[in-house]
Symmetry: D2
Subunit: 426 residues, 4 copies
């Protein structure tokens, strides 16, 4: 009873296409292996996507890379970079209209990867702008909000920040304390009070998407706070300095003290954690892509070093088994991670990506990138301590990517819940 | 200069398809997550492949699974299983003609996965028949050899074995000692002498593809040794018992003592390690697929146990964080590994798969399956020691899959060589 | 203000002993490194302990080792081994009087290590007899109970078993269901009913220390059930076969169906989990020691194999970096684990060992022994599947040691509670 | 024949001391567990050692800790710290005479641990002064050299540096290129030329112990280069800035250009790598101790954070299983590592420590400290990126300790050679 099916399909297949001949002919000339794309993920891309990827990589390597070492040392973020990204169509790239590029989620992932190949901090700045703020507005905003903010943000002229995490509420944003009450004096305005922390871009942001509990429902709502409209003393965004990682991105707090926000700046329909989680989901998707870029850069740097560095009878250290294993491990994880990103991107384009899929690729890709980057760093021996080799910067950055937008353990529990049907957060 | 490209492609894309609307509509109804196929690899399969997979899974669960516990305990291999596989078209499934199914490499992988979901030993028996022997004959054999052996092997009536590894030469088959000399008495015959070990199916094999060094060239050539034609004392295939794993498959030696083999049974053209390595490459591809089936079975068994088993205030242990993390890790690796298999299968169909790609997925999938199976086994606590739960059997099997057809470290060095251009075997 | 102290002590030390001269003289002739005792733990042992260790090792290697392969294959436990151990003073070795040896806890650990160097199953049989049952009687029994059971148990003539774990209650024994009620017909007797599982030695035990909830208090009490006194049908101890590990030890259930036990066979004072946990603590201490023996045997076997096995240009595989790293890792963990055992043994002799210390060394030594044994097993390549090499048996056994007497995760939570003051079991 | 021994020893022991009574009495009052010293390593210390440890810890916490955050941020090393250490007797503490404290190797280790509990950079500065330079002079110097340098170095008035590693020769110092030739113009002087890098303290060092190949023998010899005596342009010691770790210590190069060094400043007898390796061995012993201090500080900081930080229904995150496991793992490794240090210290005092023992504890303690510090860092979530929590600094430092004075893989191969008798460096 099992039999007919396979025979049938076999027959169909056999009649339809002479695979075997082609296949075995191909065997005769073994295919080359490309360590930079070991499982040929390129074969899954459209021509447009390939073109976008090439452009993005060229820009990032030629224009961004030369700036990053100094930026990291001095914790400086060059705001011009957002404008350059805007010119190239990187910002809000999946959005249709409003001057956005309207590309596929895979293309967007490739852009993200190109940026993070240079530095996770630059990618963070872009992610916040694109996924968290522009994505949020496009998804949940009114037509007026979209038209007001998206075109300028797409150009990188208006800088966005996303205020969810609070000093006492990281993994558990539902317990946030920031509130939106009726403004005591200004008609048609709400008054926002509370404190947000670890907010990328906040010190330079023009528009801050702040999540706060609405006075009537106690439910979380999203508010677009425009810095230029805030009276003195109602909005402060002090920078947080002396960071251990992501030093090429700006991080700060958002301190709201009875800050007046027009009711028209509230997202109209979305309530509860669905709003911020949808935005985060999109950003996490970008992180999963991005960090494969950082990992690939670590591989490339470690490989070059291992080929150049000679120890013991003039052998390049690339000849030693313990070194080769590190390279093999990292290359494998980069290749597997990339395929997973492409797959989720395709599903996302079709509206078929479950949020847990994104938890899965964000968690795994970040964990593996970090683990491998650290292992590759060992190849540099004592030289790893010099920031000139770049790998220490990636290691420090990647630790942060593992902890933000869902710390790795939190994503483990999200997956555990999806697998077992039981939550284990508490 | 970077700019136009993206804008162009964006324009093209925007005009071509209204993705965004569809995408965001989809957001409104979040997609479900399926722990059995977390990244929706099914979406990558053709209808034929899905149908083949369903048939194979049904047969394996209904017909093979009930036999495995006893087979494993007693180290017994039911030869009838090969015939059943033959009836279903599992054997040599990618070969065109000769009664073979001629399916895609992905379909073949799905069959392999279904079999190994039950037991790696059954899959080993099938792999040897299909990939190593039938594949070898189809690739390198003469037309006469193909017509003589393939139809019977496809039916499972003729059982094959593959003799490469020798007692003193495992990872380094190029140093093999088995030789093929002119037969002292039989004209047109070669005389094979030497010893092969860890040969799956050898005790019951009808035809043994033996690799031996040719007396004239010193190069490795392939010979089809037919048991029925061997004079007494020239071919012995003693079984190796008391194995730690793969106990549902038969393993033995091949001892050749001036065994006469007609010259017509030699592969005509292929010389050196290219012959056996091509066969192994194909088998390794099957292993990479197969063990994701074993891992998925471990996940399923551990999940069920964790939901059923209650400890501490009546909580199912699935509620505990340390348990959920194990499930999340395993599920992730299974999902990533499956995507990599699909990708390499597609490339293989197009003649674009490099051997190192197969080293990569064989190594990674085996390593991760073993690691995760062991970790999942911890969930069973003391009960894991009982063979009724099945997971201990998978763990023992998976260790063997990690060591055969290229021990994990050897594949690391194959990858290391491909990445660096330098060999580190010695 | 900090200063004087060091100067003072320095002065004292300088006057007290001319260390430096001796030390630097010693430098001139570098000390040898002994891979079998890398950190010279021997230097911490008394002469008696060294002598005991040598005797135990000699007996185990000469008399026990030759029996283990067959025992493991056939799941047979030779009861005579307990008698031999009894003759040598291995049983209840730390107990004073009753024919027991009365040795230090370190000496006892060394005996345990010698036994487990051969097989964890043999050590399990001994641990149950010594630590769980004899130790329990010596600690909690009445004088009459001690005199009745201990001398025969010390000789290995009376075999003990320890019944705590139940089919539905493993990590959480406080929820046990076995009860002790007044016997309906026999005056002065309690009636025990319930079911225990995974009980080492149960099928051959003469006396079974069963923990059950007392009808009056609901609290757990200990009862010495004598098989010879049990009416037919009230005590069954069916063996559990087809185990994945510990196959050289006997395992079974204890099924009590209104089994009459004289009140005089109840432990007089101890109530609640303190009783069984004290016994387990002592057994766990033995496991921590024992598995270092198993690990050392794995190291020795892997080292020998790596030196004998030649691959690639005739090099012993011991020459390869990836092999050496595995040996270095394992040797380090064995050395560190041994020092920890000696330290806890000394503290135990002085009544200064906290139970959490034993959780720490049991967990760590089991986890590391298992991890390293698995890694060393990789050195054997395909040959690892043969049980003749012995390492597969250790790997299978060590997995069980990780899960019994406190699964590794449970000990993590015991330690976590001790470190944080907060319990995380539920 | 095995029997008598144990019985005898048992008898002796039984007569000698009534252990059991004491032991079981102790059981009645279970001992407390101290997470800061889980296996009671304190019980192994002498009173003097305890006193020294307390003094050192008090100084480091009260005087050094307040300076480290700023020092790390600004890559500034306060030279006064060496003088303070000198006043307290920390420098060259195991040396007898010359104003040194002459304490045991364990006491010296405790001092090192106290310093590295604050920062690995401070410990590095001290190690170079004490172990590498003072230790080298004391071991290999002439009486005149000792009297000239040691008293001032013990006070911290003369700062030392140790020049072994060269830009192209790290793990393989035997291939060094620095040479000592007869000085072309200055009688009785040698002329040193070459370049050393990653030299701790070099920018401020007064005396630099430089290893160079002697022109006559081609063998490596040690030379004491006094900065004050070097003509302009013959000695440069530029600082290396922008380090990824150890930023509280000074690092630089040593550039020698025909630098004249009096023959009297050459170590008289020692030739080849034995000289620098003896010094390194002593320093590595200190590192093994020191990093347990850094790890313990990470544990303490993570524990405090986990108890203070509340997420999900107001629970401190210390309540979550995934957090407790991290704390349990780290605490275990710190405890095991400390015992190993004490043991090797005692053996060192007796001239019984093999160099491979030090490779073992240096490698293991560094590897485990780094792994655990990174894992503990995850507990801090996003807050880990702030340098105020201190743990990121330890993580960055510990990576360097893993790579210097023998990168971890090199020590693996040193151990592998000691275990197998075969070198695998090339």
């Amino acid at each position: 009873m099992y039999r007919s099916l396979i025979r049938n399909s076999a027959r169909q297949l056999a009649s339809a296409r002479p695979i075997a001949a082609r296949r075995f002919a191909a065997h005769a000339t073994p295919q080359p292996f490309n360590w930079e794309d070991p499982l040929n993920a390129q074969s899954l891309l459209t021509e447009e996507e390939l073109a976008i990827s090439e452009t993005a990589e060229a820009y990032c390597q030629e224009r961004m890379l030369p700036r990053v070492l100094d930026a990291y040392r001095t914790e400086h973020f060059d705001k011009k970079i957002l404008e350059e990204m805007g010119e190239l169509g990187f910002l809000g790239a999946t959005i249709n209209g409003y001057g956005c590029a309207g590309v596929s989620n895979v293309a967007s992932g490739l852009i993200t990867k190109a940026v993070e190949r240079v530095d996770s901090g630059y990618r963070s700045g872009m992610s916040v702008q694109s996924s968290l703020v522009m994505g949020g507005i496009d998804e949940f905003g009114t037509q007026e909000q979209k038209e007001k903010f998206l075109p300028g943000m797409a150009k990188g002229k208006i800088v966005g920040a996303f205020g969810l995490t609070e000093p006492n509420h990281g993994s558990d944003p539902g317990a946030m304390e920031t509130t939106a009450k009726p403004h005591p004096t200004k008609e048609g305005y709400l008054s926002l009070s509370g404190s947000k922390t670890w907010i990328t871009n906040s010190p330079i942001a023009d528009v801050l998407l702040v999540w706060a509990k609405h006075h009537e429902t106690g439910k979380i709502r999203g508010y677009l706070v425009e810095r230029s409209e805030c009276p003195p003393g109602t909005l402060e965004t002090p920078a947080i300095k002396n960071k251990n990682g992501l030093r090429a991105s700006l991080t700060g707090m958002i301190q709201l003290d009875e800050c007046p926000v027009p009711e028209a700046n509230m997202f109209p329909d979305v309530e509860g954690l669905r709003g911020p989680f949808t935005c985060l989901n999109s950003a996490r998707y970008g992180i999963a892509w991005g960090i494969t870029g950082a990992l690939e850069d670590c591989i490339s740097r470690a490989r070059t070093y291992a080929l150049d560095r000679k120890q013991f009878k003039g052998n390049p250290i690339a000849k030693y088994q313990l070194v080769q294993k590190k390279l093999a491990d990292a290359t494998t994880d980069a290749a597997f991670g990339t395929l997973a990103c492409v797959q989720v991107g395709r599903l996302k384009d079709n509206g078929e990506a479950a949020p847990e899929m994104i938890s899965m690729i964000k968690r795994q890709n970040c964990d593996r990138a970090l683990w491998n980057a650290r292992t590759l760093q060992e190849i540099f021996g004592g030289n790893a301590v010099s920031d000139e080799y770049g790998i220490g910067r990636h290691v420090a950055n990647l630790f942060v990517t593992q902890t933000y937008e869902g710390q790795s353990d939190i994503h483990s529990l999200i997956l555990g819940r999806a697998i077992t049907g039981i939550q284990a957060f508490v």
